[in-house]
């Protein structure tokens, strides 16, 4: 009985319940999008957007508008800038991404350092889920819901766009629209995650659940389900554990995710280290040969 009381103790606090619920929601949104991002190979783009939202958050606080609006404008603006510079120069995409996102991030640092305001840079960088204001929660929930609806409506087209953009064009789909739609959804997700894990670690939430699931299945539907389980579980468990150990919430969430990934990496039924080791010992059957 005593043990159960210790276990449930955090949930006596209103802020803790809110924190767990909000991080579960954010974990789900990130996990859903991570399936597309890992398959499309846009991890670096996610990292870029997450850094580029910093000046947006700062400007929002200065102007007194919701942080989500400024963050989205700057995050999405960075991707437009990247696309524009890439199409006008011969510089490779990763270099363009590097130049643009560090520029945005640095601009954010300068703005924050020169503004006597309540903006706490560590909250932007590392999240502040246990100290969320009601307005933060409302913004996060709104952005999450918009993102989920967007992904649900476009999921088939986005999957085709990730898999074979040429075919998408050939059957008359607007691939430019899909490109910017996926970028917008990515920017929205990052905006939503900023409060929970902060912009430094959001990229983990956008890559790890998808990668974890990709190790376990060959079916996209299952991949998404597994990614969601991974994302929600690690957000809930991470938030809870961080309270118990009095440690960084974002950090605990990401460590939990990484541990799940490691487990899958070692023990995944078909692609894990153990399984591939075992497979190597078995002589090739005719079916294996046929698959090569």
């Amino acid at each position: 009985m005593h043990l159960l009381q210790t276990f449930l103790e955090p949930f006596h606090y209103d802020f803790m319940i809110k924190a767990v619920l909000v991080s579960a929601l954010v974990g789900m949104v990130c996990a859903v999008l991570s399936c597309f991002i890992t398959l499309k190979g846009w991890s670096l783009m996610g990292d870029a957007i997450s850094h580029a939202v910093v000046p947006g958050v700062a400007v929002s606080y200065i102007l007194g508008i919701p942080f989500a609006i400024g963050a989205f404008i700057f995050g999405f603006g960075a991707t437009v800038a990247i696309g524009f510079i890439k199409s006008r120069t011969r510089i490779k995409e990763d270099a363009v991404i590097g130049v643009v996102f560090t520029m945005f991030f640095a601009l954010g640092l300068v703005i924050i350092s020169k503004t006597p305001s309540t903006v706490d840079i560590t909250h932007i960088l590392f999240g502040n889920v246990l100290g969320m204001l009601p307005s933060d929660i409302i913004q996060t929930v709104i952005v999450c819901v918009i993102t989920l609806i967007g992904i649900f409506l476009l999921r088939k087209d986005l999957l085709l766009f990730c898999f074979d953009p040429n075919h998408a064009r050939a059957i008359g789909l607007n691939t430019n629209f899909l490109y910017y739609a996926l970028l917008s959804l990515l920017a929205l997700t990052i905006v939503a995650s900023q409060i929970t894990v902060g912009i430094i670690l959001v990229i983990a939430m956008l890559i790890t659940p998808g990668s974890f699931a990709y190790l376990l299945t060959d079916r996209f539907d299952r991949m998404m389900l597994l990614a969601i389980l991974c994302g929600v579980f690690s957000c809930v468990a991470g938030t809870y554990i961080s309270y118990q150990i009095d440690g960084s919430t974002g950090g605990t969430i990401v460590v939990t995710q990484a541990l799940l990934f490691l487990l899958a990496f070692i023990f995944a039924p078909k692609r894990g280290l153990v399984a591939t080791r075992m497979l190597r010992r078995i002589p090739k059957t005719t079916e294996n040969v046929g698959a090569l």
Binding site: L39, R90, L153, K156, D157, L159, L160, C162, F163, D164, N166, H167, R169, A170, I171, G172, L173, Y214, T217, D218, R219, F220, M223, G290, A291, L292
Partner: protein, 260 residues
């Protein structure tokens, strides 16, 4: 030889494509008509892929234009007229999709906004998979297929799309002889039904067996016409002989695969 008086399915007019100021192809002019199979041949780097991309509207011509059934490419695509079978190395074979899902992607243009397949879509998929003998593998992830099966999966997608015009980029690369024969007889069937087919290929030896026309390009159009008239040793040497230095290696490779 037939149908020459009908509206051309593909009309390439005075086409030039340049990348960063370097001209990839220029002065390309030809027309393809319904019920024909045309081969597109030329050395590596000779602009075959560029021409394909221009016909598919993936790149915008620097000069000239491409019309599909007297329409701009984009409008023809919205009407699902053009099916495209990509080269194998354009596809991520680890992608978590199976054969049936790939074929279903051919039907997206017919579906509503949410891409929910109708009974008709499912029936077309069944028929397309059956036609390329892939029904037994319909639930298999595409990476777990052999080279020939992979090609068939994408042919099923093109069939499911039902376009009157089909472009195939190197369909015989990495496939066994049985599959090559199966692909050829499928193309002959489609020609019978009035399709316009353009095949880019390195396999010169099979061309006389199934292609009505041959288009030879190496940066510019070297020859175009009925197979029996233009597919001659002289034209092949001219096209592959190359006006550019550095093509020797490609040339030997091409002729080798043509012989094998």
């Amino acid at each position: 030889m037939r149908n020459e008086l009908t509206l051309p399915s593909i009309q390439v007019k005075d086409l030039m494509v340049a990348y960063d100021g370097n001209i990839a192809i220029h002065d390309i002019d030809f027309q393809l008509h319904p019920g024909t199979i045309s081969a597109l041949i030329g050395p590596n780097g000779g602009g075959k892929s560029t021409l394909f991309k221009a016909i598919m509207g993936f790149i915008i011509p620097t000069q000239g234009d491409v019309q599909i059934e007297a329409m701009p490419v984009r409008r023809a695509q919205k009407k699902n007229l053009i099916a495209y079978v990509p080269q194998s190395d354009e596809i991520d074979w680890n992608f978590p999709v199976n054969v049936e899902e790939v074929a279903m992607m051919g039907r997206y243009g017919y579906m509503n906004f949410l891409r929910k397949p109708s009974a008709e879509d499912r029936q077309v998929i069944d028929e397309s998979l059956e036609r390329v003998q892939m029904t037994a593998f319909r639930h298999r992830q595409i990476g777990a297929l052999s080279g020939g099966q992979r090609k068939r999966a994408f042919l099923a997608r093109a069939l499911a799309q039902g376009g009157r015009i089909m472009l195939l980029d190197e369909p015989f690369t990495g496939v066994d002889a049985t599959t090559e024969q199966a692909i050829i007889s499928l193309l002959l069937d489609l020609r019978q039904q009035g399709s316009t087919i353009l095949v880019s290929t390195h396999d010169l030896s099979s061309i006389p067996h199934f292609c009505d026309r041959v288009i030879m390009i190496n940066r510019m159009l070297y020859a175009h016409g009925h197979t029996e008239e233009v597919f001659t040793q002289d034209n092949i040497t001219l096209t592959f002989g190359g006006i550019l230095m550095g093509l020797e290696f490609n040339q030997s490779q091409v002729l080798f695969s043509g012989v094998s």
